[in-house]
Amino acid sequence: MSEQHIHPEPTSFWRKYVFSVDHKVIAQQFIWLGLSFLLIGGMMAMMIRWQLANPGQPFPVIGRFLLPATHGVVSPMMYTALFTNHGTIMIFFAVTPIMIGGFGNYCIPLGIGARDMVFPTLNMLSFWAMVVATVILVASFFVPMGGAAAGWTAYPTLSTQMGTPGGGQTLLVLSLFIAGSSSIMGAVNYITTVIRLRAPGMTYMKMPLTVWGLWLTAVLNALFVPVLASGLILLFFDRTFGTKFFITGAMIKGGGDPLLFQHLFWIFGHPEVYILIMPVWGVISDVLPFFARKPAYGYKVTVYALIAVCVLSAVVYGHHMYTTSMSPLLGESFMVLTMIISVPAMVLFLNWLRTIWRGSIRTTVPMLFALGVVFVFGLGGLTGLYLADIPQDLYLHDTYFVVGHFHLTMAAAVFLGSFCSIYFWFPKIWGRMFNERLGKLHFWCSIIPITLVFCGMLLIGYSGMQRRLYNLESYEYAKRLLPMNQFVSVMAFTLFLGQVFFVSNFVYSVFRGRKASENPWELGTLEWQISSPPPHHNFDVIPTVIHGPHEFNNPEVLKKLGKDWLGQAEVIPGAEAVHEPAEIAQAGE
């Protein structure tokens, strides 16, 4: 194990808060960035929902400032740009920075007992690359022919110069390329850090499941974001240098095939959805045991299930392309594999349920959000099976059923999971406690609307409403779905407004909350054994790990120490050396 020296704290303002190489500072930078774009992406969603519920009506209050040309009405072109950028922003600039950039950076070194990541400067570059990407994205909104408007999936031929002329789409492609490089830099850091900097005694099977989730996320990032990068390069070349990769040969002599982009995109795109959910899976797999005061049921099985999902995620991407008239054999192979990948996910889910079963539940705010994640993910995951099935998917493809499905599994689960993480680590990161009552209010004002919004979408989609429609009144079959859409929109506005409880709680508590103790949740993982917030170098002495992360209600500990939890590096008084030195030395490799 490499020696981890204690470096002196930086003193200048720039080194401390702007170009910091401290993983804890970089994590906070990512979280603030991600929350800002969560707000922007959410605003876009509100404008989409407004247009669907009240076709042709100007957006209230701020509409005429945002859309002066149309006096506040969302035009068809603007609508297309809105859903494109809503998706892109939420995935790449909200969820990724918060969970992977933010909590990945914060939790990995602390969880494994390290002083920082192995490549701190690379870490800083990863954040600033993300900032550059966001600047380019925002710039794309202001170019002459408008921003990107080809869906977040950016399929050619629509995303080529023929379909979406001008600089906006090109800038989006460039922005995503840079954001992808930020993710890859982060992935290299996370993977190497977990392999090399685990504290002595911290075997892989003693790591908190949060670290497992984040580490496997990084593996997927390193493997699959480069595939997106290659697709984006080719799209960029098609748009800028006149290459013909995705311009069909039917239109131009010697042309290529737009479908090839879909292959590259979804080879990335399917693992991407697991990249987005896996940090949350990891956090929930820890938070549920923490607040049920029981070890995680089936820790090892959970780890193997996470690994199985990673491996399988590479070979199911075709289920996004069932309607591209691929050979039935190929389609059926993808179908079978997609159904198989639901099995490890189900295993995770059942392990969660079995963990809280007959536990001593502490209904703290993080626990409520964790239970919320279990609920929405269960619903969303089940609807995935409908979509995995080809005959069903031929009908449901590109309907609101798909939108409901992926929002439940990806947006709702990650949305709630992000707040679970924020509330959970709030005392540690900011050294203060948040307001419990506002937190619970925030939870209920989120879980109820979010479930109703996306379950409503499942119904709408099953009734046949297509995705990305501008005006329901234009279509005979969709007109009757207007009342349901209005209900969904009202729930969406409620959800958006309910976040005010979070914003007020968060902003107030960061600056004026009650000071937190080092271990307000009474937990055994390493980050809770040091002060809140931790010192610059994290641990005065790198701990030697003896126990797993979920040592709860151990009878011997209850008797000798009078508490229902045990620190991972805590020695039970009077216990003989349970682990031979050789095991610790070898485990630390």
Partner: protein, 192 residues
Amino acid sequence: MASVVSLQPRAKEDFTSYLGMMITLGAWGVMFAGLFFIYAGVRLAAPTWPPPGVPKLPVLVPTLATLVLAASSVTAQRALTSIRTAKRDQMRTWLGATIFLGALFLGIQYTIWSSVHDGGLTMDSGTYGSVFFTLTYFHAVHVAAGVLALVVLLVRASRYTVHQHGAVRHCTMFWHFVGLVWLATFVTVFLI
């Protein structure tokens, strides 16, 4: 015996950055794999390959380029082993040789591009041109970046010692990577 014990702690630090570099190159390789995937897709879908009307690509000059790049990998590795055995001046010589061969490769690439251009093949002349120029330009950009990195190494050569030469090792690893990508490009674009 004492020298073996004192090397141990340093060897572990070396492995960390080596691991990081390997993962980075792995990710980079996957990106190039994506480009080759598209090449395969485009080529398999085309009724004939090369498509009618495109100029024939040269084989002799690219083979020369391959040999030049292969030689440069040898010289780069020699530079690394030099610093590992504390021979900094020798490292400088081998680095210089690698830079020269890298620049020579880029020069040869330029002549290939010129001759192909004169033959009528451009970036926007269909999928054949798209594939050829995208792969070779993209690879050449990486060669240029590698040459730049090697120049920086050469300029900063005095700071590298037996115990601290991570940058030299990483640049050499990158250089080998660039050579391997060229091999794949050469075989799939020029030969088969």
